[in-house]
């Protein structure tokens, strides 16, 4: 049976090598020239619990994992209980017969075989890889080489274990899945990596962050790359320090970014407002997880939209944009870094766990990246807050014989504190002019992605949900137009005129429909239905396509 989409799901306890097995599976499938999408579902713990990794692949570009899997490998009974009903038609379920036998599917003694080796728990992942290799019809040589490459520690034990598991399953499932090969082998990148690379490409010099899921991997990746790219990557005492240090660094002309999730961003907003009045270019990556408060740390949600749009006290320009795909995350991060410098203000790259921590095959064109810039002052008589036609004052950085004063108080054009009514209103007007200038500029760039369809209706979505929507439409073979605003503030209303009174369905991951409200309020969009999911899990394309069909 040749299948277009092939999905592999592996589940077990944290520490058993679940995520690694998923990554290896993704590499195997990408190695066939196929496109892959990997989603890791893990709990906020280090050992135990239940984690799973699901990898879907297709010869074409694939935008989401599928929760119905062709090959399901369960390391324990809990995984079996969670996933035994997620086996696709014609699929195979392999379970650990040592944990509980007599279940539906194929039992394999993963534990008793692993006990023969010193580090047994981490070996389950190796077993899952062997099962995948057998099911895809790869021979032992391929499997051996793969294990050696992917598990450099204890390779021989791992190879011996893989061989035993392979022999167990091969007679029954060997070569069960014949997959069509794709056109080219592509690199697999995870979302926060795409953001990090986009930022570096765009000119990043300094990154500050305090660890917080799902933004931590952005910090980790940049910290690992810091030396190579000549970056300062700093983990200070808290998010308050993060944002205030970032303002300090941008004062020197260094392209500066910070990253966090909702709770950390809540601590940053005072400093975010500081960036507003000092006109400090600072980009914040806000990777959302379910809230309020601590919420659900390792899962996904789009409930921080309103928070991002209005973050920080006082009136100032906040640029908010949200990438719909991992490719877009790469280019958009650089573009946002450029915009915060062009308009000297704070910006938010709003994303979610589902984009930050999912991985996919990707083709990037670094040459298309925008480099962050800004106008630098030349001459004498510098005024930090010189009022100009578009409200954007020239920049100058220390050391300079000119005096450069950034001020958190309302100030005159020299940056000296003022309580003078003339200056208070003048500086408000100056900063507000930047909003108009930005809107004008936005009309010259792509602010809304429109995927034209033939069905006379539209699905409007944003952020990582865009990927779920695109895959759902492909799966369901339905083709309404998909409208995805990349920029959320200022909201590109001018792009929405044609859709206003058409049949519109909104898809978002929030319980109250914040995005739908934004569309109504900002663009006067008539909305027929809002499809919401807010259980921390991303949409499944099969389930979502059904809902969209019902809605149309």
């Amino acid at each position: 049976m040749v299948k277009e989409i092939f999905t592999f799901l592996v589940g077990g306890k944290a520490g058993e090598g679940v995520k690694k097995a998923g990554s290896v599976a993704a590499d195997v499938l990408a190695g066939m020239g196929r496109n892959v999408f990997q989603m890791d579902d893990y709990m906020s713990l280090i050992r135990g619990g239940h984690n799973f990794s699901v990898v879907s692949s297709a010869p074409r570009k694939i935008y989401s994992h599928y929760m119905k899997a062709d090959l399901v490998v369960c390391f324990d009974k809990r995984s079996y209980d969670n996933h035994s009903d997620q086996v696709a038609e014609g699929g195979i379920l392999v379970y650990n017969s040592d944990d509980k036998d007599g279940m539906n599917g194929m039992g394999v003694p993963l534990t008793s075989e692993a006990k023969k080796y010193p580090v047994r728990n981490l070996m389950f992942g190796v077993g899952a890889v062997a099962i995948l290799c057998a099911a895809l019809g790869y021979d032992k040589k391929y499997t051996d080489d793969l294990i050696a490459q992917q598990y450099p520690k204890g390779t021989e034990d791992n190879q011996a274990y893989a061989s035993t598991i392979y022999d167990h399953v091969f007679p029954e499932i060997g070569g069960k899945f014949k997959l069509e090969e794709g056109d080219t082998v592509r690199r697999i990148v995870f979302g926060n990596q795409a953001i990090a690379l986009g930022a570096i490409a765009g000119g990043l010099s300094v990154y500050y962050a305090y660890p917080m899921t799902p933004a931590s991997s952005l910090l980790h990746y940049l910290a690992a790359q810091a030396e190579k790219f000549g970056l300062a990557v700093i983990h200070p005492e808290n998010e308050i320090a993060v944002m205030n240090m970032a303002v300090g660094s941008s004062f020197t002309g260094a392209k500066t970014m910070v990253g966090t999730s909702g709770g950390g961003f809540a601590l940053m907003v005072e400093g975010f407002s500081l960036a507003g009045i000092t006109e400090a270019p600072v980009l914040c990556v806000l990777s959302a997880r379910p809230g309020p408060a601590t919420g659900v740390p390792t899962y996904t949600e789009q409930a921080d939209l309103n928070f991002a749009l209005s973050a920080g006290h006082g009136e100032f320009l906040r640029i908010v944009a949200s990438p719909g795909t991992l490719e877009e995350a790469f280019y958009l991060t650089a573009q946002m870094l450029d915009l915060v410098w062009k308009f000297q203000t704070s910006g938010i790259l709003l994303t979610e766990k589902h984009l930050s921590e999912s991985s996919t095959t990707i083709e990037l064109q670094p040459d298309n990246i925008i480099s962050a810039g800004g106008v630098e002052f030349q001459g004498n008589g510098y005024k930090r807050y010189l009022d100009t036609e578009d409200g954007v004052s020239p920049l100058l950085f220390p050391p300079s014989h000119e005096v450069i004063k950034w001020n958190s108080y309302e100030h005159d054009d020299l940056g000296i504190t003022t309580e003078d009514p003339y200056w208070i209103s003048r500086m408000h007007d100056k900063r507000n002019k930047k909003i108009d200038a930005l809107k004008k500029y936005m009309k010259s760039i792509n602010t809304v992605n429109v995927y034209r369809g033939e069905h006379p209706s539209n699905v409007i979505t944003y952020g990582s949900t865009t990927m779920s929507v695109i895959e759902a439409l492909k799966y369901g073979q339905i083709n309404p137009t998909v409208v995805q605003p990349v920029y959320l503030n200022p909201f590109p209303v001018w792009e929405f005129e044609e859709f206003k009174d058409q049949t519109n369905i909104v898809v978002e991951q929030s319980s109250t429909g914040q995005f739908a409200d934004l569309l109504r309020e900002k663009a006067g969009i008539r909305i027929k239905e809002v499809i919401k999911r807010y259980d921390g899990r991303p949409f499944d394309p099969m389930e979502l396509s059904k809902k969209i069909k019902e809605g149309l």
Binding site: R187, V189, L197, I200, A201, G203, S205, V206, Y208, A226, E227, K228, F229, G230, L231, A232, I234, P236, E237, I240, A241, N244, M245, A246, V247, G248, S249, S250, F251, T252, G253, A254, K255, T256, E270, G271, L274, T278, L364, P366, D367, I369, S371, F397, P398, P399, S400, H401, E402, V403, I404, K405, W406, N407, S408, Y409, H411, G415, I416, T417
Partner: protein, 279 residues
């Protein structure tokens, strides 16, 4: 010295101790210039409060930051451009209340910044409330029956946190204070000066400090001696309490890199990313 001032209207009360800090700082900058440290390489920051108003009165570049957060912002300047000498002016409410975590961590990481703490033991600009270092029993608008908390001791705290330059000065001893500021700015690593600063409106301590302060003859030689000295309350020694040599944070983390200057070119970045994405 006049060109180190600005045209901003000075709104401190007549007789305020802050004038002493302003004058001593300007004198220190001039003396540093004689030693080859140009004023454009000195940047300043300030938090919020009467102390922080000094930002508007000094004609140097910098960031007038948020309450307590100036200590973070000034580190951000230093980390992005380690060539700059970075000084921030914090009140004792600013540094020891809202900014305490930033200050302790700045000392812990030996950030190469100077904090000049205006020690008046009162929130003067908000009309006289108790600060984290005010003696127990202070009657202010937020503690009408007298504060019930013991004060923190900034010098002992910072000694424990790993500060590598600690000093105490007094606004009425301007030449002595000038010398301390000069040394603090020259020090490579975290430096802190606890400046006794009478507040003529809410806590006039001139008489008290004139009686209690004395200039230290010898600097403590051990950490224990410094701790002991910093705990002294019968008398208030002024001078350098502690100095140590440790690599500053930016140097320990990324050596000679200056992130604001040594940024890789666009071509180099794109080439490296293209290679990184290749198999």
């Amino acid at each position: 010295m006049d060109d180190l001032g600005t045209n901003a209207e000075n709104t401190w009360c007549p007789g305020c101790g802050n004038f002493g800090i302003l004058n001593a700082f300007k004198k220190a900058v001039l003396k540093l210039e004689e030693k080859g440290i140009q004023r454009e390489n000195i940047v300043i920051s300030a938090g919020i409060g009467c102390s922080a108003k000094i930002f508007d009165y000094i004609n140097l570049s910098g960031i007038y930051g948020l309450h307590g957060r100036d200590i973070a912002s000034v580190q951000g300047i230093k980390f992005a451009n380690p060539d700059l000498k970075c000084v921030t002016f914090s009140g004792d409410g600013n540094a020891m209340g809202e900014g305490l975590a930033h200050m302790l961590f700045a000392a812990k990481r030996n950030a190469d910044i100077t904090i000049i703490m205006h020690h008046n033991s009162v929130y003067a600009l908000t009309t006289g409330q108790v600060t984290p270092i005010t003696n127990k029993g202070w009657k202010g608008p937020s503690t009408p029956r007298g504060s019930v908390e013991e004060p923190l001791n900034p010098l002992t705290l910072l000694l424990e946190a790993g500060a590598t330059f600690l000093a105490r000065g007094y606004t009425a001893k301007i030449d002595h204070l000038t010398d301390l500021i000069e040394q603090a700015i020259e020090h490579e690593g975290f430096s802190f000066i606890d400046v006794l600063q009478p507040c003529v409106s809410w806590n006039n301590t001139y008489k008290l400090y004139n009686e209690l302060t004395y200039v230290l003859e010898d600097e403590p030689k051990t950490h224990d001696e410094a701790l002991k000295l910093s705990r002294r309350i019968d008398k208030l020694p002024i001078g350098v309490f502690w100095r140590d040599e440790k690599p500053p944070f930016h140097d320990a983390l990324y050596g000679s890199l200056n992130p604001s200057i040594n940024s890789l070119s666009r071509e180099k970045r794109l080439e490296m990313i293209t290679n990184l994405l290749k198999f």
